[in-house]
């Protein structure tokens, strides 16, 4: 009915290769962007920002980053938590060392530093693949957490071993620290996510993305048609780590405010983000959003239902919630191994023909 490509003729290759080739899709995208920027900031409150929107936005950035590396370039990484920690600590050191510089620049620089660390830990990928690479990145995870724990310089010799974000403002509005309003947090993260998602989409649709996917699908054939495996894999590690570093910086500075490395950026964070991209869909930007939404929203939703509706005790609800989320993941992966992005694609294909069956 609504979702039609009939009559929508493309007359140039640029038109044909645009991100949303179908008109209805394009309009829906504009609508989502308009609501995200024009409506939500005015109605958001602290609960919605802290429980739902801000973690969703930040995890979406991290998921896009990991998806670039794992979904597009095929290099499995279990070091996401460690790389987020690099971003967080880099951001903290920069914020405290150069208080007069804008927080936005600090966040981006933190991403840049993480990119460099990512390239360093990406070097083994030139020799090892698959599970073996996963183990190598796992080593990065443990090493980085250990490093930030053991070297007091990273947390400015604070007695608690924690890092905490001082107040920083953008255009006069605080975006970090205790005085930050819900909409400021939300908008700051949203703007960064929007820009990074757009850049990721551009990278993955063109030459760079094809190189990554060529390495992922068949590295020997990729090399034979002129893909340099060294630069291609390292560029994926660099860009992926940049995204993850930015996410780590935001997670610490905007969302948590104060963080302890083992707790905030432990191995469970690596797995959480890996789950997001597997459930959302490997090799899909939309999948990164969908996976992040699933993993952030599902616990909140379940908690509200179990505690709010059924009146269960919170500790009981917390345990049951874990079980249900775990079961859902398993069921989901059996039903659709290619993730929510694939479900979405199938739904759209059905919708193209609806209401006719063929």
């Amino acid at each position: 009915m609504f979702y039609r490509e009939a009559g929508d003729f493309k007359t140039s290759y640029a038109d044909d290769s645009q991100t949303f080739p179908i008109r209805f899709d394009r309009l829906r995208y504009y609508a989502v962007v308009a609501v995200a920027f024009g409506v939500i900031p005015f109605v958001i409150n602290d609960y919605w920002a802290n429980a739902v929107f801000v973690p969703f936005l930040i995890y979406a950035i991290a998921a896009i980053g990991l998806n670039i590396l794992t979904g597009y370039c095929g290099q499995v990484s279990l070091g996401t938590g460690g790389f987020m920690a690099v971003g967080a600590y880099a951001c903290y050191k920069l914020m405290t060392a150069f208080p007069e510089v804008s927080i936005l620049i600090h966040v981006l620089l933190a991403g840049g530093i993480t990119a460099m660390v990512g390239v360093l830990f990406g070097l083994p990928s030139l020799r090892i693949k698959g599970f073996y690479l996963a183990v190598a990145t796992l080593a990065a995870q443990f090493f980085l957490v250990w490093l930030f724990n053991k070297v007091p310089w990273f947390y400015n010799y604070s007695a608690s071993g924690q890092i905490s974000a001082p107040e920083r403002t953008i255009l006069g509005h605080p975006v970090t620290g205790a005085a930050t309003t819900a909409s400021a947090k939300y908008l700051f993260c949203l703007v960064i996510l929007f820009a990074l998602a757009w850049l990721a989409r551009n990278l993955t649709r063109g030459t760079v993305g094809r190189k990554w996917m060529a390495i992922r699908d068949m590295d020997i054939a990729a090399e034979i048609i002129g893909v340099n495996p060294l630069t291609t894999k390292l560029s994926a590690f660099a860009i992926s780590s940049f995204y993850i570093g930015v996410a780590g910086a935001l997670f610490f500075a905007v969302y948590l405010g104060a963080a302890e490395v083992g707790e905030a950026f432990g191995i469970q964070k690596s797995f959480l983000i890996l789950f997001m991209i597997i459930i959302g869909g490997l090799g899909s930007i939309f999948g990164s959003f969908a996976g992040a939404a699933f993993m952030v929203l599902m616990p909140v939703l379940l908690k509200n239902i179990l505690v709010g509706q059924f009146g269960w005790a919170t500790d009981l609800a917390a345990h049951v919630e874990l079980m249900i989320v775990g079961a859902l993941i398993v069921i989901f992966l059996i039903a659709e191994p290619h993730g929510m992005a694939q479900l979405w694609r199938l739904a759209k294909e059905k919708l193209r023909l609806w209401p006719f069956p063929h």
Binding site: Y13, L199, G226
Partner: protein, 272 residues
């Protein structure tokens, strides 16, 4: 055998140029096993050169030497009049040599169009930042190359499947897409490793037609490994015959056919 450095004209009027690639005394060993022993031959510009031989004769190894997968222990590879040092495959690709594989090596997760576009990587120049912003050169380049790719799609008659993921295609079409990807790089030299293996007669005819058309229209030099003798004898200008890693014959199809060594080793001896 004809010996003209400037080339010659074939019976059907195609112009064969001077030597494009020369293999000199190539020996390739894997540990103690000699895959290729002291083989020399040349490939002339514009010709279709076949390499034949029984299984395990070292044909694919030879192709792998040409495309840079294997570096021979002895011997020299000359291309366009220069000696080629040891190179990685992606560097060889940039010289203008592309190939297809015996077992199809396409990128299954990508569409036909993206697969073929990937073939043009060596010709695309826009940088990472340019790509990220999708502005200026990156966007222009994408459209230009899309146009070239569409020509190849038309040429190989695969318009209908351009947006289909490669993983879903049947075998014969995959082979064709692989040829398209190799052609997209606008190679000087195209290596085809058993382009007709496992095809039915009709598909073989199609593929033969495409190979001849590629050679004719783009002037691409083609090196071909194939088991179907009828196809080899019909298509190729000159044939190298290998057996147990050694060259046992080299010449036009007619010369090879009447060579007693070749008949013995490969085409079969008439037992009375």
């Amino acid at each position: 055998m004809k010996d003209m450095t400037e080339g010659y004209t074939t019976a059907d009027g195609r112009r064969i140029g001077p030597v494009l690639m020369e293999m000199k005394n190539i020996t390739l060993r894997f540990g103690g096993v000699k895959a290729i022993t002291d083989i020399s031959f040349d490939i002339r510009e514009g010709e279709i050169r076949a390499i034949i031989g029984p299984n395990g004769a070292g044909k694919s190894s030879m192709l792998n030497v040409i495309s840079g997968f294997y570096v021979p222990q002895e011997g020299e590879v000359w291309f366009k009049g220069y000696r080629r040092g040891p190179m990685r495959p992606y560097q060889v690709a940039r010289l203008g040599i592309s190939r297809t594989f015996q077992n199809i090596a396409l990128f299954d997760g990508m569409s036909v169009l993206d697969n073929i576009m990937t073939g043009r990587l060596t010709l695309m120049k826009s940088g990472l930042l340019n790509q990220a912003l999708w502005w200026g050169r990156a966007e222009r380049e994408e459209t230009e190359h899309r146009e070239k790719v569409e020509k190849i799609i038309d040429f190989l008659e695969i318009q209908a499947i351009r947006k289909t993921p490669v993983g879903r295609l049947p075998y014969g079409l995959k082979k064709r897409v692989e040829l398209a990807r190799a052609l997209a790089a606008e190679p000087k030299l195209l290596l085809l490793d058993e382009p007709m293996a496992g095809m039915n007669v009709e598909e073989k005819e199609d593929m033969s037609r495409f190979i001849l058309d590629v050679n004719d229209e783009f002037g691409t030099t083609i090196v071909l490994i194939e088991h179907d003798m009828g196809v080899v004898m019909d298509l190729s200008d000159r044939v190298v015959v290998m057996d147990y890693g050694k060259k046992i014959g080299d010449g036009t199809p007619d010369e090879v056919r009447s060579n007693p060594d070749v008949i013995n080793a490969y085409l079969g001896v008439a037992h009375d």
